[in-house]
């Protein structure tokens, strides 16, 4: 097994196009991760596989780039005062249990229904979770945007924080006091999703915002701590089995370390609801992408039949729409940063008193 993997790794052709592809996807994925706390992995793994990298090596090499990227992003955002380290570590510990359960479920599905059944489960999980959570996040971001851009703590989080179930934990940076027991399901779900679709942050960040009550900026920054802990543990596991192609890891890292820091800087330039807007948009486009993969899974399970051309078209469409999700997210971030930069470059007029005597709020970014 090990020699087989080594042989495969040796024969991967790293030409200039492949190097530029990995660098570019690394940069865009890093930008999105630095801004919303997760993302990029869902494009990188299939992207590497399209270059001829075996699936396990692609997953392993991707994970090995994830933890240093998350570490650099978390450090940068910690310096901006956005990271709640305690919340990140509490979430990561329950996420680790979720990962183990998620892996067991995956194995059971694989042994019962084979690879097609496993792919169908992953695609359905993607679509259900991303449509439900992504739709909610997107709607909330639009509502905040229309309401002047002021983010409020969710009613659910407020209610949960009133439940005095010991041990109660104070998360200073997130400004939250909540029972430990109420944080566990969020961390667990994050780990489960990470083991299923490789992007736990799509549950972790909204969970920290709407269930625990952290702000968007703290939730997305804290997610980087969770990503670091989980990525580090996963990378050690893959490295022990000799599956990491360090060349691929470092090529992705070359781009993503630029991206993750730019994304982190971006969070200081835009209003908080932009984080939700970018995250919701990416999640909904990725949901469309995974929905396109479902018919092919059903074909392989002999549930339906499709013409070969349609099947190939859906497969390509699924990958292309994933790339579109990441690109749209990156463009939204860069656009918001650009607008913020332009508006801050203008000479700001003195605050004018509003009708009630309070100084009017200056819009610095959309």
């Amino acid at each position: 097994m090990e020699s087989g993997v080594q042989e495969t790794i040796k024969f991967i052709d790293l030409n200039l196009a492949a190097i530029l592809f990995l660098f570019a996807v690394g940069f865009i994925g890093g930008l999105v991760s630095g801004f919303i706390g997760s993302g990029g992995a869902f494009v990188l793994t299939p992207g590497m596989m399209s270059l001829g990298v075996p699936g396990a090596v692609a997953v392993a090499s991707n994970m090995c780039h994830k933890f240093p990227k998350a570490m650099v992003g978390a450090y940068k955002r910690y310096k901006y005062g956005q990271v709640d380290l305690k919340l990140g570590l509490v979430m990561a510990s329950s996420a680790a249990i979720g990962v183990q359960v998620g892996i067991r479920i995956q194995r059971w599905i694989l042994s019962t229904w084979g690879q097609a059944g496993s792919d169908l489960y992953v695609s359905l999980a993607f679509v259900v979770v991303l449509v439900a959570v992504g739709g909610y996040v997107f709607r909330d971001a639009r509502k905040i945007s229309k309401g002047g851009g002021e983010e409020k703590r969710s009613a659910l989080a407020e209610r949960l924080q009133r439940i005095e179930l010991p041990p109660m934990i104070q998360f200073k940076r997130a400004n939250v006091r909540i029972s430990l027991w109420l944080t566990l399901p969020v961390g667990f779900a994050t780990g489960m999703l990470a083991a299923t679709i490789a992007v736990g942050g799509f549950i972790g960040v909204p969970g920290m915002i709407y269930v625990i009550g952290a702000s968007s900026v703290v939730a997305s920054a804290t997610e980087l701590v969770i990503a670091f802990v989980m990525g580090f543990a996963g990378s050690i596991n893959w490295a022990i089995h000799g599956m990491i192609d360090i060349r691929l890891t470092l090529l992705i890292l070359a781009g993503s370390l630029f991206g993750v820091q730019l994304g982190a800087i971006g969070t200081t330039m835009v209003r908080q609801h932009v984080i939700k807007l970018v995250m919701g948009t990416i999640m909904l486009i990725v949901a469309v992408s995974r929905a396109m993969a479902i018919p092919n899974c059903l074909v392989r399970l002999n549930v339906i039949s499709l013409p070969l051309g349609t099947s190939e078209l859906l497969s390509k469409g699924s990958f292309v729409s994933m790339c579109i999700a990441l690109t749209v997210g990156a463009l939204m971030i860069l656009g918001a940063m650009w607008r913020s930069r332009v508006s801050s470059a203008k000479v700001e007029p003195l605050p004018q008193p509003s009708y009630n005597g309070a100084p009017s709020r200056m819009e610095t970014a959309s």
Binding site: K10, V72, A239, L250, L253, F258, S344
Partner: protein
């Protein structure tokens, strides 16, 4: 004048230093790719090699990336967004004077 001071404070020297270090690390790794791949994929205790390499590259290349953005003038343009303190209702107990019966004798 202000602009010139800001520009001179930009870490050009550090950016060049870490950029060269990062480049040297990449050149060294890819020029010895066969040896690297042979040993880094052995598994077991050799697992420390890819993990340590990822850490070293993230420190050096991460520092280079950070200095590059600073040199390009892309940095924090306003105070970082820190969550506002949660509004809590403080119960202030005020002394309530109660009428007391006084007997003046």
């Amino acid at each position: 004048m202000m602009k010139n001071t800001e520009q001179s404070a930009r870490p050009i020297g550090k950016m060049i230093l870490f950029g060269l270090l990062s480049l040297a690390l990449y050149v060294f790794l890819f020029s010895n790719a066969d040896w690297v791949m042979r040993n880094f994929t052995r598994g077991g205790v050799y697992a420390a090699l890819p993990i340590a390499t990822a850490f070293v590259f993230s420190f050096v290349h991460g520092a280079f990336a950070s200095y590059l953005w600073s040199v390009l003038g892309i940095g924090v343009t306003r105070r970082p967004v820190v969550p506002k303190a949660r509004e809590t209702r403080r119960v202030v107990r005020r002394p309530r004077p109660r009428p007391r019966l006084r007997v003046e004798a």
